[in-house]
Symmetry: C2
Subunit: 362 residues, 2 copies
């Protein structure tokens, strides 16, 4: 992928002049909507984002149409240049109809997002689970080289994995493969957005990390996080969380002991999740993305340490987990929006058939 | 499959007269070797088993050759009737060479079982991981009807899963897919045969269930298990375990409170393992086999209750786990030996190519 900044203005203008040639990929996250516009030569000619108001599916059509218009504008283009839109959504999606039947972290249920957006934008709109789309995007773009067995593990507002086995995206008959964020890791633990207790998401997602830091700072534990957020207090139900996961990793990188402890606890849980994926599926690589992973090395280091701990003193466990390559998605590599572009392109090349077929494997 | 008892003697004799037409499938378990001989019409014409002496790989060739001879004899046949042998082994196997590189629960490492047996028996021998072979056998025999996404979860001396996704066996690039028995469920818990601590196998395998019962009876807790085994005492290191998992499920079925408690604890863990498989892979069915599952309903009931508990009060968790169909392999259905027959037949039809191809998908 060519970073936007590296692209000459001429190329962007030329892309814009070719009509109906831009595909826009929109990644709907738990806290923001990010979009890219891509031309037929795989150049990113526009990039935009908006905050999202969760829990208000009736606003979704407006918000998404707005970000599509904005990213076209950013590309020096307009809606006549738009060929198709792909949308990645954190939840259960029927890729044939574009209906989002379950998006726990957005508070959506049964939103016919595909139809709503097609009516507004006048072009084909393909909706897919965000993380499965991102994994498919990594696969189709050859972003991982010859690796045919990998997972894209998204750690953000929620946790889930997009799984590629034998060079094909695993969706599953219900389109729910990879929902490992709802595996119980602390029986009887904190209530999860899914309704269960002690799910992986309740201990290692962005909000879980932020909540832990906020509570401990509010309880008076010494930390540079307290200085950064002097107003820190335990979050009210549904209220904003004063300290973010990004704050925690920033402070951990500076050596703050409390932040490091919290980062290490999350890393240990995420290492366990990586091991779970490898043991269950036998994978060569796990690429971690999502809002929390954007912290980079301070986020990745504790995960690598956690994997080393699982291997330590256990020669056979070590062989089972193997030398799986764990990495964070490169900054600016946009796996979410690129995944959305990929599903839109594949649907254009081969409409998704009814039944259990994979996206784009028609 | 026609049960052996239902087969007329004439048919068995007829099978035996056809030379080089019998395929023998041998399932090497943690405590016994079970074998069937199958004719070209899928009739089981012989069935045999032997106890296995673990930790002595140099004996493996003798033991396995002996059971092959015995099952042919049982079929009214001899080695001139033998076309091929399949062997399922609980460990990591290179199906191209038949070498067993790692079989934790047998205490084997780098045993060239395929070559050893071919030299003795004079026919092609195909070795595959036992549980993956069993899953492939269920798939090829259409034992589950139109189900294309399922796992065969073996619960015996160890715990692992054979995974079928989109109608194809998942082996993985290292041939290690499905090794969920070594996912850590109790960090810092009991030492596992793999070297790690607190693996699923240490809390829900046959030996784990037996050990728990033995310890609690030895500690003086009232239970019918004490009467059944008046000599019960904590197992010496490497020594025999006085109370077996089968004893525990038998006593649980009779209403013994201690046995029920232990069965419920194991069932809760195994329900978690089923949920893990479903969440990670999106499966329609999980068939549970292996020595412990042979207990039938007293084994299965607590697993179903455990799944109900994971779904309770959690509408979205409930949707994620779904209505996955959990069942135990039918008594006498021999998924292990049939799996071994299947890999032998598929290798004859299409030799396993080098590289990452699946067994029999040449």
């Amino acid at each position: 992928m060519i970073p936007l900044a590296a692209m000459p203005t001429e190329a962007r203008a030329a892309s814009a002049r070719a009509r109906r040639e831009l595909v826009v990929g929109v990644d709907v996250g738990g806290s923001k909507i990010a979009a890219i516009a891509v031309d037929p030569s795989d150049r990113v000619v526009g990039r935009e984002w908006r905050p999202i108001v969760t829990g208000r599916p009736e606003r979704a059509g407006d918000d998404l149409a707005e970000v599509v218009t904005a990213v076209l504008h950013e590309a020096g283009a307009d809606d006549r240049d738009l060929a198709a839109v792909g949308v990645g959504v954190p939840g259960r999606v029927d890729p044939r109809t574009g209906a989002v039947s379950l998006a726990v972290n957005l508070g959506w249920q049964d939103v016919r997002l595909g139809s709503i957006l097609e009516a507004r934008l006048g072009v084909p709109v393909v909706v897919e689970n965000d993380v499965r789309a991102a994994a498919l995007g990594l696969l189709r773009r050859g972003a991982l080289g010859p690796v045919r067995d990998f997972a894209y593990l998204a750690v953000g507002t929620g946790i889930s994995a997009g799984v590629v086995v034998d060079g094909a995206l695993r969706r599953g008959p219900r389109g729910l493969a990879g929902e490992i964020g709802h595996i119980v890791v602390e029986p009887g633990g904190e209530r999860c957005s899914c309704g269960g207790c002690g799910c992986l998401e309740t201990v290692a997602s962005g909000p879980a990390i932020a909540r832990r830091a906020t509570e401990r700072v509010a309880a008076g534990e010494p930390s540079s996080l307290a200085a950064a957020r002097p107003d820190a207090e335990p979050p009210r139900r549904g209220g904003p969380i004063p300290i973010t996961a990004a704050d925690v990793y920033g402070a951990a990188a500076e050596g703050d002991p409390l932040a490091r402890e919290i980062a290490e606890a999350a890393g240990s849980r995420l290492a366990w999740a990586v091991a779970l994926l490898v043991l269950t599926l036998d994978l060569e690589r796990v690429v971690i993305g999502g809002g929390v992973a954007a912290a980079g090395e301070p986020f990745l280091d504790p995960i690598r340490s956690g994997l080393d701990a699982l291997r330590a003193d256990a020669p056979q466990a070590s062989e089972l987990i193997g030398r799986v390559d764990v990495m964070v998605a490169a900054d600016g590599s946009d796996p979410g929006p690129w995944g959305a572009v990929t599903v839109a392109r594949e649907a254009r090349a081969a409409p998704v058939p009814a039944g259990r077929e994979e996206v784009g494997h028609g």
